[in-house]
């Protein structure tokens, strides 16, 4: 059947197209955050009958390596590019070069600095890291009004998480409340990260907030809160990012107030669609700015995340239909 | 004629463009002490390293007690009763004197090393040889040249090997210590079942302890006489003659 599809080369009402190959350039290629992004990108490609996009870039947010990967893709004459523009200056020239070579480029997940995308990409599809960090802080401010808040970050300076912590810090600053926000470095090794957060907790028994900006640290915050029963002490808020099982368990058990879902699946799925439309329409359908949104997973809505494994959250490779019923929560 | 304890037949060895040994035929009988002499760089050490299984020869056979064998490794040769003192001594600087003396032949009270027994035996053997060390527990890196050599020699002499290959065992030894080692070798000879090949540049010592002398020149054995049938003068002449001819 696969053969047939290829021979026909057409999907749905779309015309027969070459098997276009798109390349995603990422800053932390092996990070679990982007596992659903890769599923999204694969699923979109399968839907459209094009080749599975390439997932490449840097493992440790080294911009030089990303630029190399981007340039290599341009040399390789790929059909479309999605780039996480984690640095506003570094990608300007390569993106221009790609556009000059007739390769459409969109940015996803990160788009330069606030108010300055830096590159001439056709559109941005994602949700800003800085903004999501700001949201992390803002949500915490609903319950914290003073004291000490720690923000845990695995690798300071790394482009996938540093903007989040900067955003969170800004949120606290903007609030004007008497809160001291301290960024605390954990570790690339999650196990060391847990020990470090544990040590911080031991040394700061009266901390009023513990936030984290990466998956590992978020899970570790939940575990530490539980271990020292910090909810019964001065802790007002604990939260973080991403939906790995241990974080969800933390939310469920009330050790974490919330964890933020940046809907990474869409950050893979939508760029493929955008690039495909551009190609198939000869540029008539230009990619449009798309906010993939941000979702707070709290005790109230954590259950479906825990009880179902889905490609959409990265917890399984299986194709699943996630059932739901009842009214949809709204404001 | 008795079966030789160790025999080399047509041994050749090249290092890149250099032919170190071209056609070596040599044997040592049970209980015999053979002296091997030759200029620096003649290939004596190379030959020893072939006879003990460290180097593989490019051609030729090795016959141990009448049995043709391919020596796969030093360990293999040792299992056939061939033990060696190397010119570079093969000591491990990081280990103590007694561990070096029992290297790869450690006394074990399974699973642990029997350090006490090794220490005791090492002390006794070194004392028997007249070697006096600060302490057998000291690392060999800290020893003087002669002390190091004494350890390497003691290690082989007190093994129960059938064939001992000694590459310049006396080079760094003091006058007195050298004499004592020669005594030990003479004792072995008296026991009658150990064969020894000994390399030395001091011909007086060679004639003193050896039954027979071989000269290695141009990759071949060019001279083979009983010690009783030759003299210090003849040996010295042989070598100097060669040197004069070349000049």
């Amino acid at each position: 059947s696969d053969d047939k599809a290829e021979a026909a080369g057409a999907m749905g009402n779309f015309p027969e197209t070459p098997k276009w190959k798109f390349t995603f350039v990422n800053h932390v290629t092996t990070n679990p955050f982007f596992t659903p992004t890769q599923y999204g990108m694969e699923d979109a490609a399968a839907l459209l009958g094009i080749e599975k996009p390439q997932w490449t870039g840097s493992q440790n947010s080294i911009v030089g390596e990303m630029v190399n990967a981007l340039n290599t893709a341009i040399s390789g004459k790929v059909d479309g590019l999605a780039v996480a523009v984690v640095d506003k200056d570094a990608f300007r020239a390569p993106v221009d070069q790609a556009l000059d070579a007739g390769i459409p480029v969109v940015s996803y997940n990160a788009d330069g600095a606030r108010g300055d995308p830096g590159t001439n990409r056709l559109a941005y599809i994602g949700q800003g890291l800085y903004e999501s960090g700001y949201e992390l802080g803002k949500r915490a401010l609903e319950t914290v009004s003073g004291g000490e808040v720690a923000g845990f970050i695995a690798t300071p300076g790394a482009l996938n998480i540093q903007p989040r912590i900067d955003g969170a810090q800004q949120a606290f600053q903007d609030s004007g409340k008497p809160i001291t926000f301290t960024p605390v470095a954990t570790n690339a090794d999650v196990t060391k990260g847990l020990s470090i957060i544990d040590a911080y907790a031991v040394g700061h028994a009266n901390v009023s907030g513990m936030l984290a900006v990466d998956a590992g640290s978020t899970a570790s915050v939940g575990q530490t809160v539980k271990k020292y029963n910090m909810r019964s002490k001065s802790l007002k808020v604990a939260g973080g990012f991403d939906l790995i099982p241990e974080s969800l368990a933390g939310v469920k058990d009330g050790n974490l107030d919330y964890t933020i879902d940046q809907q990474p699946y869409l950050q893979g799925f939508l760029p493929v669609l955008a690039l495909y439309f551009y190609k198939v329409s000869g540029g008539l359908i230009a990619p449009s700015e798309t906010n993939t949104g941000l979702l707070f997973v709290t005790k109230d809505n954590v259950e479906p995340y825990q009880n179902t494994k889905s490609r959409y959250e990265g917890s399984t490779t299986d194709k699943v239909l996630v059932p739901r019923s009842g009214p949809i929560a709204h404001g | 004629m008795t079966t030789a304890a160790l025999q080399a037949r047509g041994i050749a060895k090249r290092f890149g463009a250099l032919t170190a040994l071209s056609d070596i035929n040599l044997h040592v009988d049970p209980g015999e002490v053979l002296g091997l002499i030759g200029d620096n760089g003649a290939g004596k050490s190379t030959l020893i390293k072939i006879l003990c299984g460290y180097h593989q020869p490019d051609a030729g056979q090795i016959v141990v007690a009448g049995q043709e064998v391919t020596l796969r490794s030093v360990d293999h040769a040792r299992s056939l009763g061939i033990d060696t003192v190397y010119q570079d001594l093969a000591l491990i600087n990081e280990l103590s004197v007694y561990h070096n003396m029992f290297l790869n032949r450690e006394l074990v009270r399974w699973p642990l090393l029997n350090n006490r027994a090794m220490k005791r035996r090492a002390e006794r053997h070194l004392k028997d040889m007249g070697v006096n060390l600060p302490d057998v527990g000291v690392e060999v890196a800290k020893l003087s040249g002669g002390q190091r050599q004494a350890i390497a020699v003691a290690r082989s002499v007190y093994s129960d090997a059938k064939v001992l290959l000694l590459d310049e065992p006396l080079a760094a030894m003091g006058a007195k210590e050298g004499t004592m080692i020669l005594d030990v070798i003479r004792d072995l000879k008296r026991r009658g079942d150990v064969s020894v090949i000994i390399i030395a540049h001091n011909y007086a010592q060679v004639l003193d302890v050896c039954d027979r002398v071989n000269l290695l020149q141009h990759g071949r054995i060019t001279f083979d006489k009983r010690a009783a049938d030759t003299s210090l003068e003849e040996l010295t002449d042989l070598v100097v003659a060669d040197y004069r001819r070349r000049r």
């Binding site: 493992q59 470095a185 040590a199 | 460290y54 290297l103 090393l113």
Partner: protein, 338 residues
């Protein structure tokens, strides 16, 4: 050699406490231990809770994985080799356990054995290529590092999984989740391999092979066997650490070990403890103490609460200061021995 210069006369038996102190100072590990103790005193002075039970557990848990991997690293460094892949083996092993249990229904203990055996097999491959094909171990293990990372990411889809049901409970506690579980494992493993390195033929030959490869071969020691064995021990220990840590953090995460981070810490612990990168000399107890020093530094400064950027500066300076002190102490110690 009757004329060996004599020992000086001052050998009148010292009094008992003096004797214990002497015996302590004679040990090579003494100086690192002193550094560790000094750090503890300093941090205790800076923070009341530093010596609380909770925090001691925390330090113990941070020390254990580094120390256990460092045991293997010491064996390898002493025998003149290195292993960069052990950290990724640590990440892979718990997934192997998970696959065996959750996909194939293998009983827990058997799955543990299988996972460790597969880990050891990676060590075997490393050792084989190093000793038989004569490729330097740095490149070989860089190659297996990438290859195993690829396998890990492909099979795990770069996504964490929960601890398998049958592992939860006793087994999980016992292998790593219990407060003192991992450090107990570490101490036992350190003790065993300390004996192996210092009191068995294997250890002696490991030292020989690294100290003087030509000499060791001339003495008939089979260097390949020793090295392959040490690669296998290292990988197996790495695998054990991975499973232990997964149990402790209660999730099987592809990021356990942080790629090369764990390896790096382990090498650092070994070197801090007194193992030479150049081979031939090393101490396993020292590596444990090195891991303790690193864990104490990290824990102490985090306890005090330095912020992200500052802590690196402090940590770096503290490492330098500690190691200079260590060097100074061990020179005193050597002088004191005389």
């Amino acid at each position: 050699m009757a004329d060996t210069a004599e020992r000086t006369a001052e050998e009148a038996p010292p009094r008992a406490p003096r004797r214990v102190l002497d015996a302590f100072l004679r040990r090579r590990e003494a100086s690192v231990l002193l550094v560790a103790l000094a750090l503890m005193v300093y941090f205790r002075a800076s923070s009341d809770v530093f010596l609380s039970r909770d925090n001691l557990v925390n330090i113990a848990q941070a020390t254990a994985p580094t120390a256990i991997v460092a045991v293997g690293i010491v064996l390898l460094l002493v025998s003149g080799e290195i292993d960069l892949s052990v950290g990724i083996v640590a990440a892979f092993a718990p997934f192997l356990l998970h696959f065996a249990i959750d996909y194939y229904g293998v009983p827990v203990l058997l799955a543990l054995v299988l996972a460790l055996a597969l880990a050891a097999f990676i060590g075997l491959v490393n050792g084989f290529i190093v000793t038989q094909l004569h490729v330097p171990s740095f490149v070989v293990t860089l190659g297996t590092f990438f290859a195993v990372q690829g396998l890990l990411l492909i099979t795990s889809h770069a996504y964490p999984v929960p601890i398998p049901e049958p592992v939860q409970g006793t087994f999980q506690t016992w292998i790593g989740a219990g407060p003192w579980a991992s450090i107990t494992w570490a101490v036992v493993i350190v003790a065993v391999f300390h004996v192996v390195l210092t009191r068995t033929r294997w250890g002696l030959h490991t030292i020989s092979v690294g100290g003087n490869p030509v000499g060791a071969t001339e003495a008939g020691i089979r260097a390949s066997r020793i090295k392959i064995g040490n690669f296998m021990i290292t990988s197996a220990l790495g695998g054990l650490v991975g499973i232990m840590e997964a149990a402790r953090i209660n999730t099987i995460d592809p990021n356990i070990g942080g790629g090369t981070t764990l390896t790096f810490y382990a090498i650092s612990a070994a070197v801090i403890g007194g193992t030479a990168l150049a081979g031939g000399s090393g101490t396993i107890v020292g590596a444990l103490l090195g891991a303790l020093v690193l864990a104490t530094l990290q824990n102490g400064f985090n306890l005090i609460g330095y912020s992200a950027n500052t802590i690196y500066l402090i940590l770096g300076l503290a490492i330098l200061a500690s190691m200079i002190a260590n060097q100074y102490l061990s020179r005193l110690r050597r002088a004191g021995k005389s």
